[in-house]
Symmetry: C2
């Protein structure tokens, strides 16, 4: 398409507005864009493929937002295109989730042409009242910046500003593109240099003093630990986390959000710290520690086991996106180089060698009754050997995310769990997005994702199975069929009909959603461990490609851990009545 | 459940807060409530069934909102229950549609307990920043009133105010119920009397003068017509519309939104007026009319064929929700009794007998080549004989809603079409909601709904097929399989890949979504008129119950009317290039 690209007009260089925006996205490492066509974004979509981007049309906009969020968590940045009103509002819950859990999604909305907006024309996808600013106002609550590309003189700066904000905060931004603007020429001058996200200035004196203070605390520690939380990802400090864990050799735990952000194959990495549910030895170690290096904390109730795993302030050094906390003291305006400098300056010989508490004991599978029903308690240990380095492992909010916390992950895997937003229906489209990002980053068509999802959550966004199939992604989909919203049953109303769902025949999914004949046999199910073992050893599971569906049946009230406490207290109350 | 109901405390009468709200909903004629459970609304859901309401759990919240919208358009009022944040934002596009097209949906949101909100606790389903007011702020843009039930002293008034607003404006309202408030006792005094929606005062003098003026215009008219638009429904004047059309015998047309709101079996009712696409005789009659009685106008571009069917001001008398326009003059603060009074006072002998233009000629099916492929041009005429009085007929945005405009509807049918919001994915869940409302209102399990939907729209919200099955509704679902978003192809990008969708095997739908064995045979498909005829004459279609699926294959660029103009202009442009 000759109309797309940079053009020369006299001595000036110009580009079509949409080309400018999409080129910036490519420069920032985006290779695929998610979304749904609508009549205010069709001209905009004309630019996607010619700009070298892969268009991933999803079945609806909420699923596109979820997919974009998943893509951003792997790739660092993603983009989503929807249409005005109907499309963007359908997506807004997904954008809110990206805001809550820090995924940088660029939400591009195709809007009516400027003349229609200026004349307050009563167009469709509005409330037929001439008001065009409502949806932008709603976006203010769930994005870090909003910009409306109506003036060709400022478009390059507006785009650059919005993208910088997304990168800086690792959160979504909102960009409106009127239908008649996509072809308007704007200056292409800035495209010559890549977008630079400003860092903090070096502040030697303040930094040096803090460096010394932190070093001393580290050298003095006798019962230290490292807690890896999920904001290490948006903070972009994963390699430093790895270095710190290796250099100190100190006992290291993660939160739910931090799970998989540190190599669990390292001998000093213990896995997820579950607070009240942890072993006595772990709890004692954690609660009497004299130093907790707290990396990327995120203090929602669900990520902290009801605020129980938040480190004591007096023994903590916490690394947040915009500050470092040492005990009660707050240090702001520090350069990103602080943590690398700290690591480089640490004298390994002065760091205490520490013996942590005993590691978690996992189920002894050798003694398991293979003819017994599959239970939450053992299922996750049982499937664990399936995982390989580099796998993506996704556990939907519900029993799956609770069980997935205890997985022993091979190196370089990434796990998604239920952190804070907890929007059921998220994880299947997020699998789509994350798997595409992984395939692109690895340049490897064998990249693999394994999703664990309950039957209730699956119903929310089930149609994206279709896009997983058409994108030819390698996905193993475990459907935990426990006849309804089991996590809600645990919380309240364990016998209430509102926690029931309609029973689907999951073995029809591949056929319904258009898998080709060669894939139709990729359907499996298991009710006992024996059956599950047979499924797991099937070569289509071990070495196959494409989508494979494994339906695993469990009891409708089978829960473990915190959820078991909740359901048991319901039962106790019932017995009292 | 003994805890639900009105209680006596000393001499005062009190009720649990939720019971108060749900009792009011029942008094206003709501029998079913739609929604999805979530952990901030579970205690609230405990009240639904014991209050005598039918709980309809949908697969996700957007679909619940669409279903509630469909229910409200048949029943006058509906209710939807979601959970804080994730649930309500998933539903918000459906609420916006109800706002745009005037359906009174009571959106009840279960929120975190007051103590958590007051202490700015970092709970899940928030952004973990202590801010609890964001979602309520977003709701302000798409609802007529918002109220937060945190104070037991004012709850009855708050509930009554919100419900009155919904009824008065026939638009959605937003009610927040903190988790710890559902059981709080509130005064039940008001429950003794039904909610009264205030009317305007009688304003004799002004009203009498206007009455006379309108009467005279009617008596003088020589080439008059009546235009029935969609806001007659929220205005609640359907019986007066019927009376006026019968009493005058004048040529009567409808808009898209007004379709089915007047009995098309009456000899003077012409059907849909399509403006530029109408016959020359119709256009001439419309454009040279000396009086247009314009009932419930709604002037979006899509409802007016690009503003082409808006009656000339000088010859119009327009009845709007809050005013009557006579030519350039506006009359406000008139009582609702104005139209009944006008009808009662009209002297039939002074009303001109008018001969309108010839009626629309429909396809002569006798000459049709039955072996030919099914086309948009003839399909709608071909299936038309299937319809019976009292049927609900729903035509999703796309080719279906364009085709459905020319249906000849039996009396007492109701048709849903694409009006202004045009959110694809709406119509399948709306069918669910509307069919439930119809069944309840008619007290007839044989009530029937017939949905026409494209394969692209179907993918958006397909899971609600499951709820249609589990609710045992009698639905005939025509899937127009034309391999993608054909309406978007017509608008722009007819060959572009972004308008393609993955091919599904629709014949697996009943199996996948859990139909029982006796229903699995209710699958049909047709590529030719001969095949379609065979399907339509099948007794399962004519007299069967439950869900029946008919897949109809059409060409991917087969469009008619306005859409044909659009696609032809694309082709013309391509040929020039």
């Amino acid at each position: 398409m000759a109309s797309i690209g940079v053009e020369s007009i006299g001595s000036e260089c110009s580009a079509k507005e949409l080309y400018y925006l999409l080129t910036r996205l490519r420069q920032l490492g985006i290779q695929s864009i998610f979304g749904v066509p609508g009549d205010y974004n069709l001209r905009l979509l004309d630019f996607v493929t010619p700009s070298g981007l892969h268009w991933v049309g999803t079945c609806n906009e909420l699923n596109a937002a979820y997919a974009a969020d998943g893509y951003a968590r792997i790739n660092g940045l993603s983009a989503l295109i929807t249409t005005f009103g109907v499309g963007e509002l359908s997506a807004i819950n997904g954008i809110a989730g990206a805001y809550a859990e820090k995924a940088a999604v660029i939400h591009i909305v195709g809007t009516p042409a400027r003349a229609l907006q200026d004349s307050r024309s009563l167009m469709h996808h509005t409330f037929a009242d001439g008001e065009y600013r409502r949806f932008g106002k709603m976006a203010e609550h769930v994005t870090v910046t909003q910009t409306n590309l109506v003036d060709e003189r400022t478009v390059p700066e507006q785009v650059d500003w919005a993208l910088k904000q997304a990168v800086l905060h690792s959160r979504p931004v909102y960009i409106e593109v009127p239908d008649d603007m996509v072809n308007v020429l704007v200056s292409a001058e800035r495209l010559g240099s890549e977008l630079e996200v400003p860092g903090s200035l070096e502040v030697d004196e303040k930094e040096d003093a803090l460096l010394k203070q932190v070093q001393e605390r580290i050298y003095q520690a006798q019962q230290p630990l490292i807690l890896v939380d999920g904001e290490c990802r948006p903070l972009g400090i994963l390699s430093q986390v790895d270095e710190l864990v290796k250099k100190t050799g100190w006992p290291t735990w993660t939160t739910v959000f931090g799970k998989s952000l540190v190599n669990e194959e390292l001998p000093n990495v213990y896995g997820h710290y579950s607070g009240p549910l942890a072993s006595e030895e772990w709890k004692t170690y954690f609660e009497t520690a004299d130093l907790i290096i707290n990396l990327g904390p995120h203090y929602s109730d669900t990520n902290t086991q009801g605020f129980a795993t938040i480190p004591r302030e007096s023994v903590s050094i916490s690394f947040l996106p915009d500050r470092i906390l040492v005990g009660k003291d707050t240090f702001r305006e520090l350069p990103r180089s602080f943590l690398p400098r700290l690591l480089q300056s640490l004298d390994g010989s002065r760091i205490a060698g520490v013996t942590g508490p005993p590691k978690l004991s996992h189920t002894d599978l050798a003694t398991l009754n293979l003819d017994g029903p599959i239970t939450q308690k053992t299922f996750y240990d049982f499937v664990n050997p399936l995982f390989r380095p580099e796998d993506l492992i996704l556990t939907e909010t519900g029993t799956a995310s609770h069980g997935g916390r205890e997985f022993q992950l091979p190196r370089d895997t990434r796990l998604f769990g239920a952190v804070t937003w907890l929007s059921i229906g998220y994880m299947l489209p997020a699998t789509l997005g994350a798997a595409i990002a992984k395939r692109e980053l690895k340049k490897d068509d064998n990249a693999r994702a394994i999703l664990f999802i309950g039957d209730g959550s699956l119903q929310m966004s089930v149609q994206e199975i279709s896009t997983i199939i058409s994108e030819k992604l390698n996905v193993i989909l475990f459907i935990i069929n426990n006849a309804g919203y089991t996590i809600e049953r645990a919380i309240h109303g364990r016998k209430q009909a509102y926690n029931d769902i309609a029973a689907w025949r999951h073995d029809h999914a591949l056929g319904f959603f258009g898998a080709d004949k060669s894939q139709l046999g990729n359907n499996f199910s298991a009710r006992t461990y024996q059956e599950l073992q047979t499924v797991l050893s099937d070569e289509r599971i071990q070495f196959g490609t494409g989508l494979r569906v494994i339906e695993v049946f469990m009891d409708r009230e089978d829960v473990t851990g915190l959820l078991a406490n909740l359901i048991n207290s319901q039962i106790a109350k019932e017995q009292k009545q």
